[in-house]
């Protein structure tokens, strides 16, 4: 090939190389463009993921709120039905209860004719064929009318229906009438009926009567000695002390306050550990609530009934106003619905309060549990301040042990480190001292 031919070939080659270079540049530009688009898509994907996560949280909260609202509305409807059922099936019991104390007081003053009282009580006996209080009242009005044969028959029926409640009722009525010897004998009979492992709930009322001195000093000493022997018997049973400390731990655990939704807003939003932190905070705040509870119980004034009659009337009132065993299933249902309504439909909190508080409504229990109920749930077990103090002082060792178990459980559950999450960034802190490095990292 001539020189000019070679030169032309090189020129053509140069042009081709230049074209290839141009094309490569275009390809590179295109790759950059695609790269940018991929970054944009990745960012969009990350944003979408965050939005989806927020949406999912919002949806979960919406579902929970909807469920709470539905449960709350359902409880509102059901509570009406339960109340109607109680009224229908046991409305007469309420009337017997309302009448009992009034009858005693009216007969003191001679305001009611014996025959009208007997007529009223006869109606009760017929309307409430299983209720102990109706038969007990019948024995009482016949005794007041000096109709011994009828009184004995009614008494036998009353003891058949409920021996210990009737014995306690007569112990109180005799004491009220200053028939002390008869009163102590009824009290003895009442004690003989008790089994510390399976006690009737009205023992709480008896405990109240004894601690308030309703039976006099001698009976108080005898009764407290009997109580000590019950507890010694129970403490010998394997597992009893553990059960008591667990019961107290459960009762005190319920005092955990809610953490307000306005507290620690940043942690709520940015820390996946928040739920555990909130639980730990609530548990720590419970300690002050427990402290205040016992301090109030022991430092507050005790309302001393003004006279023996007033004391006995008060205990009698508690005894006769107590629900009968037959009513308990409905009363329990009512208590549960009331808790769901009080907790604005929050089933978990209502269940936890129910498990702990509703035990005060169980038919038969051991004496250790009666002490716990007397101290912790006075409105449900019907105990006065003096009895609550006695119950707490007799339960001191179990309370301290149960509380220390609770504290240890809560200390073990405190998160060792807290996760912080903002967008795609995640950091950890164990005690807050990492602030500077975390800020730098973020």
């Amino acid at each position: 090939m001539s020189d000019s031919g070679i030169s032309a070939a090189f020129s053509a080659l140069d042009r081709n190389i230049s074209t290839v270079n141009d094309n490569l540049r275009i390809v590179n530009d295109n790759i950059d463009r695609v790269d940018n688009k991929v970054s944009v898509v990745a960012q969009l994907q990350s944003n979408t993921r965050d939005e989806l996560s927020q949406l999912s949280d919002a949806f979960a909260e919406f579902v929970a709120e909807y469920r709470r609202k539905s449960d709350w509305q359902l409880a509102q409807t059901q509570i009406v039905e339960v109340r109607q059922k109680l009224e229908k099936e046991f409305g007469y019991h309420d009337e017997v209860r309302d009448t009992a104390i009034g009858l005693l007081q009216a007969s003191d003053l001679g305001l009611v004719r014996e025959d009208s009282a007997r007529k009223k009580v006869e109606d009760f006996v017929m309307s409430c064929p299983k209720y102990w209080l109706a038969a007990t009242l019948s024995a009482l009005v016949n005794w007041l009318a000096d109709l011994r044969e009828l009184a004995d028959k009614a008494l036998a029926e009353a003891l058949k229906r409920h021996d210990s409640k009737s014995s306690l009722f007569f112990a109180l009525v005799c004491r009220r009438a200053h028939r002390d010897e008869a009163s102590v004998r009824w009290l003895e009979r009442y004690f003989q009926n008790q089994n510390p492992s399976a006690m009737q709930r009205e023992v709480a009322a008896m405990l109240d009567a004894v601690v308030n001195g309703a039976f006099g000093g001698g009976a108080l000493t005898t009764s407290l000695a009997v109580i000590d022997s019950w507890l010694e018997e129970l403490e010998e049973q394997p597992g009893f002390a553990d059960e008591q400390r667990a019961r107290w731990a459960e009762a005190l655990d319920v005092m955990k306050p809610h953490v307000a939704a306005t507290e620690y807003l940043t942690l709520r939003q940015y820390s996946p550990t928040w739920i555990r932190l909130e639980r730990a905070l609530s548990a720590a705040r419970r300690n002050q609530v427990v402290h205040d509870f016992f301090e109030r119980l022991f430092n507050g004034e005790t309302v001393v009934p003004p006279s023996l009659e007033a004391t006995i009337d008060f205990i009698l009132k508690t005894l006769v106003e107590e629900f009968d065993e037959e009513e308990l299933p409905l009363r329990r249902e009512l208590a549960k619905l009331e808790l769901i309504i009080a907790e604005k439909g929050d089933q978990d909190v209502a269940d936890s309060r129910y498990t702990s508080e509703v035990k005060a409504l169980r038919e038969v229990t051991n004496f250790g549990e009666i002490l716990t109920n007397a101290a912790m749930y006075p409105e449900r077990s019907g105990t006065t301040e003096a009895t609550r103090r006695y119950a707490v002082s007799r339960s001191q060792a179990w309370i301290v042990a149960g509380f220390s178990d609770l504290v240890a459980r809560d200390r073990a559950a405190i998160p060792q480190r807290v996760e912080l999450k903002a967008g795609s960034w995640t950091g950890y802190s164990s005690d807050g001292t990492e602030e500077v490095s975390l800020v730098g990292d973020c």
């Binding site: 553990d242 400390r245 301290v400 042990a401 220390s404 178990d405 504290v407 240890a408 459980r409 200390r411 073990a412 559950a413 405190i414 060792q416």
Partner: protein, 117 residues
């Protein structure tokens, strides 16, 4: 050698070199539970470690017959790790680990029980 003294000696360090001393130490701790059958005895004991940084906790594994010290960043075996927060808490001397519960022995000797931790 008492139980609590034996636990405190875990930090003395000499048993690292002396197997006989380590066995005597484990024996003293196990001897604290003579009335219990082997199944009822604790699997081991966890306590705060005072050897100094980087160590945080130690375990005396009664079943395995070993003592081991753990740094802050290193997890203990799971059955012991669950008691870590309690072990480093100043209110407790050491924590006994059982299959179904842990028992935290307080500074004053009181024992707190936590089921199913």
């Amino acid at each position: 050698m008492g139980y609590i003294d034996a636990m405190k000696r875990l930090d003395a360090g000499s048993h690292h070199e002396n197997r006989a001393e380590l066995d005597a130490l484990i024996q003293a701790i196990a001897g604290e539970f003579p009335e219990l059958t082997i199944e009822q005895r604790p699997l081991g004991i966890v306590g705060a470690c005072y050897l100094g940084a980087p160590y945080e906790v130690h375990i005396c594994d009664l079943a395995g017959g070993i003592v081991e010290h753990f740094e802050r960043s290193r997890a203990m075996p799971p059955q012991f790790e669950r008691a870590r927060s309690l072990a480093v808490h100043p209110s407790y001397v050491f924590i006994e680990i059982y299959p179904d519960c842990v028992r935290a022995v307080g500074v004053g000797g009181a024992v707190s029980v936590i089921d199913n931790l």
